[in-house]
């Protein structure tokens, strides 16, 4: 179990770094983008394995990764959009969209509808999770960091 989780986290790191290269991220930001992907996929995978609740897992992973991306954006003085996009990418419900489409082809409309609604639910979970953390005031992230810096 632990080995599987670690393997998944490493894979998510490479996945997000490769995606950032496609989107032409600056070279020195590539590791940070990869870490965002690892955080989101690690949390999603862990919760989904233990509780089998993919919507809850997506929501919690989005909340965590949005907080991490605002933190990175403050520390590294770069737009938070970049880290946010890299972190969200593993959670995009590609599998459900594909399944819904293959349901149409097989004339299995019940399956298609279920998978399509699932994709919408996952998309809504991503949206609500992001909005929740993005609308927190900026001072929360900076205050924590100022204390952190002054302690050193």
């Amino acid at each position: 179990m632990i080995f599987t989780l670690l393997f998944q986290i490493v894979m998510a790191f490479f996945y997000c770094v490769a995606f950032s290269v496609i989107f032409n991220a600056p070279r020195r930001e590539l590791p940070a983008c990869g870490i965002c992907g690892s955080v989101s996929w690690g949390i999603y995978f862990g919760i989904n394995e233990v509780f089998a609740q993919s919507v809850l897992a997506t929501f919690l992973a989005t909340v965590a990764v949005t907080a991490v991306c605002r933190h990175f954006s403050y520390v590294r003085q770069a737009p938070s959009t970049m880290y946010h996009i890299a972190g969200i990418l593993p959670l995009v419900p590609g599998m459900n969209i594909y399944n819904a489409m293959s349901g149409i082809l097989d004339n299995d409309l019940l399956y298609c509808f279920g998978q399509g609604v699932m994709a919408l639910k996952l998309g809504a979970a991503i949206a609500i999770g992001s909005i929740l953390v993005l609308s927190l005031p900026h001072s929360i992230f900076t205050r924590f960091l100022k204390n952190h810096v002054s302690n050193q």
């Binding site: 894979m11 290269v21 991220a25 959009t81 996009i85 599998m95 992001s130």
Partner: protein, 258 residues
């Protein structure tokens, strides 16, 4: 400070950021900051999904407004970062307006990552996502090959300036075709996960994320148009995959009937 030059600088910066895939709020904010360097001139900056409007009320030449239509977008994080950095240095008064103009021009003409790395990344994305969905090594290997050729194909389509709808349609079809090819040659035991890995690079994750951020900052016009774009792209990818898959099933049916 020359008002016309200031307006042009703000528009250029906004255009680069909007085309590189920044969210609307950031574009408006950057343009307004640049305009406010002209002193007490009531700056206003508005950005829609592909329109930029800037206006200042100059004490010397009266009210001035300029409009520009932004070009088609191609996601580019490096440009967003560098324009952000530039506007920060400009508004801090560290560089004069002429130099800011020169640097903006350099950013605009900056080349992308080399084609080699781009194609390698396409294959890595496909292979790792197949593994993340608990695919086997054989499926991952065929996803690697699919992504590799998909990368070539997408670069070709981008160079030919094919419309975005057709790009997704052909891309989805191409990924499905290669996944089925690997399946029939016995490289992978099933084709579903390979296709999903291949189409992950085409899915509109960036558009969706930006749409959410736009709506959250109450830019409803840009947000809803981006969501529509995302739905349209996802539908066309699914359509491309579906056409190839149903052709495959038709061929299987034909061979079974003989």
């Amino acid at each position: 400070m020359d008002d016309n030059m200031l307006l042009n600088l703000a528009l250029d910066a906004g255009e680069i950021m909007l085309a590189a895939g920044a969210e609307t709020h950031r574009v408006e904010d950057t343009m307004e900051r640049i305009l406010s360097m002209g002193g007490n001139n009531l700056p206003e900056a508005i950005a829609f999904s592909n329109v930029l409007i800037v206006s200042i009320h100059s004490p010397f030449s009266g009210p001035l407004t300029m409009t520009r239509k932004a070009p088609a977008r191609s996601i580019d994080f490096a440009k967003i970062c560098r324009v952000n950095d530039l506007s920060r240095r400009f508004t801090a008064g560290k560089i004069p307006i002429e130099e800011a103009y020169q640097q903006l021009y350099t950013i605009y003409n900056e080349p992308l990552f080399s084609g080699f790395w781009n194609i390698i990344s396409y294959s890595i994305v496909a292979a790792t996502f197949t593994l993340m969905l608990k695919g086997s090594w054989g499926e991952s290997l065929s996803a690697l090959l699919t992504g590799f050729f998909l990368g070539f194909f997408m670069r070709f389509l981008t160079k030919k300036k094919v419309p975005y709808f057709l790009t997704s349609l052909f891309g989805g079809g191409f990924a499905a075709f290669f996944a089925l090819l690997c399946y029939t040659m016995g490289l992978s035991s099933q084709y579903n996960l390979v296709i999903v890995g291949g189409i992950m690079t085409l899915l509109p994750g960036v558009t969706l994320t930006n749409a959410i951020r736009d709506i959250m900052e109450s830019n409803f016009l840009s947000g809803t148009s981006k969501i529509l774009e995302a739905v349209l792209i996802a539908t066309s990818i699914a359509g491309g995959v579906g056409i190839i898959l149903s052709c495959y099933q038709g061929i299987l049916f034909l061979l079974g009937g003989m």
